[in-house]
Symmetry: C2
Subunit: 495 residues, 2 copies
């Protein structure tokens, strides 16, 4: 029986020690963790295949991504830009009376509780992006492992923890726990400073509510549901219907559609033969779904959609449950008119987590913004396929609408396959995430686990390293010189 | 009767138009608002004196601060660093497969609902810091005016709105409403994208809970309660007891102690004559409290504290209610031992909003961290008065403890008087604020009202200005070149 009090106090002690480590040492430990994954790749991928049903190619890629993002965050730590250091020099000429020496940067918040995902057993699990970004920020991490891959979680935490601690990280820097009630109990523990989560809207909302209702509320970064609409203009369809059909099917089918960025709706004008093109691309080979719970949820959503008035089946696909209640599926593609989608919104709009997508036939691009504004809340992504040189007010309005309702706007391409890089944004308005000021992929994911603190008139010898004039960590420092306030409000006049 | 549906839809329309305005135009409107306050100063300060009882000098200073911060935010807007623009060039050599062109910046969230404070009728009210930072971010603002200064709120909104709209801002960019239920109804309106608040822990928590429980939860930045402990070491007291006594009394008495950064506890070693020094500094002149509600709350806290076992009265001070239930007070200073403070924590620890402070006599600096760790949750500030060249592990531990439990660490000086500048941090762990990732004072306050969005492979002609290669707004752009990922994880090796 695990003692949660020990888990939480271990995390608190480790977090303080880890936060005090110089950036190069923290970076070295992150790289050691990345390096440790590669020799274990074959064994880990084998376990992951058994536990999740995902393909070897996909899992190999995902493990590599997991190692790469640990290395990326190592560089984010060394760079130090994420600290957002600002130094305002003492200023006797300050317009509101003397300004003291003020220095501000962002400190780690403390222990982070990370609820792992089912669908990314490496990249959003024990050593995944939430863990990597929280460790990079200087926080100890407790992972609530997903019940869909318990052996893999255990195998991963052993390897990664040994590498981290072998590289100087404090004991207890990364801990793994299991069980929903355990997760809830820890989320309520006063020593936990922030939560992260990837999973369903129902569970994510429940946890977000718990985090907000604590005596001391804490930030909770949940990535929940998204249907990722894709919009194809008439010009795009005229130009490259085959390519679009092909790529659409690939994006819907990959990982059996069990991706948060799977395109759930494809808006396209009526076009003879387009549905047949799509149907011709769908492969008949079954893919196992992640676990019985996901299979059950997918069956329910698929049954509902197929039985909805106005829904025309393009590719019926299949779903069967085996003796162990695992689901095996081939892609299902349906078509509905914009009018029927509105009429049946209660049955059709929710995410179907699995290899299913809905083609929506719309009339005229000018009608699109009003239509989608009526239909959708927030999404992780929105994608436009337009003609090569197309430009119109309708197109511009559509892009602006997407930017107002999603975290990522794509022009061409497909939302699945999220690049791990500095400018990525993986997050969006509710219900895509519980907190759309953050991202769970990319270099700025570190920002979720930081809190600004200002130091006023503190002597150099007592300042944290990033705020000192001699800048021993070589971090970027933004300086505001004395006298600057005299010209405040003038800048708009210059050209 | 005000129609809240019209208020919210007006804000939504204005917000979209305002967000689309080029930064120089937005900045010009902010400066116009600042400029419009000065000619109205005499009249506005007269009304504010009647409504709040604050002194003319204080109100003149506060109005100037309000104008200055509008001008500062104008420059923040033109500078564009707050947009945090990141451009990752398309990269065929990317280690995880081709990286598309990705560009990320921060967009305004939409209409902001700002609950004004009682104690800063200018600087945290209609045209105050929350309004200025939300406008700067590109958001329309609805202010729920504080009932303590209704005529001033109306006078201010007329002047500022005329200046903003006269300078090209869309109609409805700033609206004023009144009444707690009106505020709650608007906070529940789906068109409101974020909330800000300055006031009591009770009301702030109630509103934060509402924001979190909405069908679509929104960020809520509330600045609530803080007791701002000040720690005086033996060496500091030996060096400059008179100066400390003098400045302490000034900081506790200013604005009749009705400041969120008033030092509520002064930790000092036992020292003969220190209490008498403090007593000798306290002026006998009465100051009016802001309103009957605050007078009532202060009376209750003061009565409780004075009647608590172990509390020794240093300066009894006074509090009387006049015929209009306004309170008139002179400062009250009490003393308690560290042991009695712990024993009586339930009676003594809550903020006393008014001119009262508690001197805590402690034994030995090594005991301080354990003592305060037992006593305090989050605070806006924590201050250390140490000897000129003092250094010790106890001192370092104390500073680290403050940094872990407050938004601002002061070395010498006093927490009242918050500089409006880039490196300021006015926010701290609960219950100081509902969300300690933000600040309500200083240039980075703008970050509270922004949400990141990434654009993937969007052609130059369709990109927002800050993300374009020709950079027409001249904003800072962080670029990641192709090939960079090949060396990820190497940086910690260099020196």
């Amino acid at each position: 029986m695990i003692d949660l009090d020990v888990v939480a106090s271990t995390a608190a002690t480790a977090s303080a020690a880890w936060a005090a480590m110089p950036p190069r040492e923290r970076a070295r430990a992150l790289v050691a963790a990345a390096d440790a994954l590669t020799p274990a790749q074959e064994e880990l991928v084998r376990i992951a295949r058994e536990e999740t049903g995902l393909t070897e190619a996909r899992l190999n890629g995902e493990l590599m991504r997991t190692a790469v993002q640990l290395r990326m965050f190592a560089d984010v730590v060394v760079d130090g830009g994420y600290l957002d250091v600002r130094i305002d020099e003492a200023d006797t000429e300050f317009v509101l009376g003397v300004r003291p020496d003020l220095r501000r940067y962002r400190q780690p918040v403390g222990p982070v509780l990370n609820f792992a995902a089912s669908n990314f057993p490496f990249a959003f699990s024990v050593a995944g992006g939430d863990t990597a970004s929280a460790l990079a920020a200087g926080c100890a991490v407790i992972v609530k492992g997903h019940p869909g891959h318990p052996r893999l979680s255990l195998g991963t935490v052993e390897i990664v923890t040994a590498a981290l601690e072998g590289s100087g990280a404090p004991s207890g820097i990364l801990q793994l726990v299991a069980g929903q009630q355990t997760g809830i109990d820890l989320l309520n523990d006063p020593r936990i400073a922030a939560g992260s989560f990837t999973g369903s809207t129902r569970i994510g909302r429940m946890l977000a509510n718990i985090a907000a209702a604590r005596p001391v509320p804490i930030p909770f970064y949940g990535e929940l549901g998204s249907v990722n609409p894709v919009f194809v203009t008439r010009a795009a369809l005229d130009e490259r219907a085959e390519e679009i059909a092909d790529e659409f099917v690939t994006s819907v089918s990959g990982s059996a559609g069990q991706l948060c960025t799977k395109p759930g709706f494809l808006f396209a004008p009526a076009a003879e033969g387009f549905a047949e093109l799509i149907a011709s691309r769908v492969a008949a080979s079954e893919h196992r779904l992640l676990n019985p719970s996901i299979a059950g949820g997918y069956r329910e959503r698929r049954d509902t959609i197929l039985a909805t008035p106005g829904v025309e089946t393009i590719v019926e696909g299949s779903l069967r449950l085996d003796n162990e209640a695992q689901g095996w599926a081939t892609p299902t593609i349906v078509r509905v008119s914009a009018g029927d989608l509105i009429a049946q919104r209660d049955r059709l709009l929710d995410e179907a987590f699995g290899p299913l997508s809905v083609i929506v036939e719309y009339e005229g691009e000018e009608s699109l913004v009003a239509l989608v504004d009526e239909l959708f809340d927030g999404n992780l992504t929105g994608t436009v396929h337009a003609g090569r040189d197309e430009d119109s007010s309708a197109l511009r309005s559509l892009i602006a609408w997407i930017a107002g309702h999603a975290g990522r706007v794509l022009f061409g391409g497909w939302p699945t396959g999220v690049a791990v890089t500095s400018a990525q944004q993986h997050g969006g308005p509710w219900p895509a995430t519980t907190n759309d000021t953050g991202t769970s992929v990319g270099g700025t994911a570190i920002s979720r686990f930081l809190r600004p603190v200002a130091y006023q008139s503190v002597p150099q010898r007592l300042l944290p390293e990033p705020l000192r004039d001699d800048n021993p960590w070589h971090v970027p420092q933004q300086r505001a010189a004395a006298g600057e306030s005299r010209s405040w409000g003038e800048s708009y006049r210059s050209v």
